[in-house]
Symmetry: C2
Subunit: 330 residues, 2 copies
Amino acid sequence: MSTLQQVAYRAGCSVATAHRVLNRNGPVSDEMVRRVRRAAAELGYRASGRAIALARRRPVIGVLIPSITNPVFAASLSSIQQRMLLAGHSVLIAQSNYDPAQEVDAVASLLNERPTGLILTVCDPERSLALSSSLPPTVLLNNLPTPRFAAAVTTDNFGAGRDLTDHLIAHGHRRILFVSGHFGASDRAKLRYLGHVRAMSNAGLEAFEALQIPFIDSYDQLDLSEAVSTLKPTAIIGSNDLLTLGVMGSVRRLGLSVPLDISVAGFDGIAIGRMMDPALTTVEIPDGTMGAAAASLLLDIAENAAPPRHLTAAYRLRCGGTVRDLNHVS
Amino acid sequence: MSTLQQVAYRAGCSVATAHRVLNRNGPVSDEMVRRVRRAAAELGYRASGRAIALARRRPVIGVLIPSITNPVFAASLSSIQQRMLLAGHSVLIAQSNYDPAQEVDAVASLLNERPTGLILTVCDPERSLALSSSLPPTVLLNNLPTPRFAAAVTTDNFGAGRDLTDHLIAHGHRRILFVSGHFGASDRAKLRYLGHVRAMSNAGLEAFEALQIPFIDSYDQLDLSEAVSTLKPTAIIGSNDLLTLGVMGSVRRLGLSVPLDISVAGFDGIAIGRMMDPALTTVEIPDGTMGAAAASLLLDIAENAAPPRHLTAAYRLRCGGTVRDLNHVS
DNA sequence: CTGAAAGCGCTTACAG
DNA sequence: CTGAAAGCGCTTACAG
């Protein structure tokens, strides 16, 4: 790899001049243009991104998500990047794998790049970020705002849990199992469950305890046999669609049919849910829109010193075929 | 954000000394350790990653994949990162979205970071990389090696296409539609199709033309009505599992059943295929292993000047329930 | 139109 | 044990 200095030397000029022609900035004679271009071409010169970033103090923003293999986070990440590209900020990515310990490291690694701002989806805003004394402007994505982190973009997860449960109850379900990632790793999952509990009690029903299982990338080995045999649910809610797919797999491995034996529903609205047969009943959440909103909000705060705000995106229940109507069953 | 210089000033020492205590390298008096630590803490000092990278010439390798939202590439990427982490190389990611034009830009952006090596999954090795005159050591992942790029990690896609088709033929299928991403964007898809054609002709059957459709992230709107009504296939092969899920969705939207009316099979072995009911028949390909192999190969070439090699990973047919046996149907 | 010099924020010999 | 200085590869005023 050659440097600007080498190009300048070869062109017989100063690095300042070489820089001018290569960046089409400042006045240069045609002769110099020719010589520098030639030298650069001969050396296969490419400016070093890291050197430029340092010299120009190029702005970067950091994004922390639980897992990039979850389409939900991939979607929001992609929106964030697009929005930031327009603003001329590059974006750095870190993953927590739903692990509070890894989360701390991940935030630290982002901080090392001196970001002008942060967009975070964390396990627990209070705990996870307590350590870091001084953070750049930060907006939470999918976590509720706290006194210290007042900027956030969320959806009404409690309402989503309530509405989805209402839907199941309206279809005659009474014994509903809520399978969830660890509440400690996702206030989202917890809120959805709390909404579920509310809907149940509103209907005079008692909710089961949530079955909390560790977050992983693929739930293809999920075993629900014990819970199913002891609780005998007619419906199972998964706290997110990826988990819900695992639930469906597990139910089927028990030799049961979805939805004939057990109904299933989830949250997120991932695309695959629409391609399955029956299609997945789920609460659609506009991840892309939320990601873009978080990016815009962050820019507004970091660049225009706008006050932190809490934005809420609307969810939407999408009825598929995985929920059976028990009302007209003899 | 504070700098080392500020810390040094506050601690009343030189940056060299501040650097020594903060990096536990070189001899320092306890007194200095105390003062520098204190100053750093008070200022909330964090070393700038980009400055360190520049000063230490920290090695980076660049990875180009078609799309991170495809679990297959996400898996290989993750393996690559883990392997590189051990070797102390950071990894830069770029996406092509299966678009040759974007691919060129993506490679260019990787090159700007002066990578010590590249791992690429491209549309067409010859064309895509023709422009770049001088590249660092490069290994192709999922693309066959070429004279210029002799290092590659692949699986036998031709064989995979042949075997999967043999499997369908053995189950009594004669009219098989091959739905694929554009061959121009994936030599992988093309090889799988060629294997399919070979198996068909071996069996004395004529293969349909492949139905090539653009690569996209979600195939939930895929429309196969025309092809299905004119060709009347008893089975459809998708050139990758994500596409195959779209095929299943499309078939079902036509009011047809998988596998009763139409059998379906794909390539890759994504986890979701195992959770569906019926489970997807597919050719499993060890993406993670291949990614790790590519990383190791690259390190070997870049650091030990090892000669470029072509590694091949074994695929495995996984029979699910999406292929119906037509042999005993009246 | 062109160049010398300082700076971005660290690291690394080299003196002392 | 400590510091001055050069260097990583660019960029940016400032002179001329």
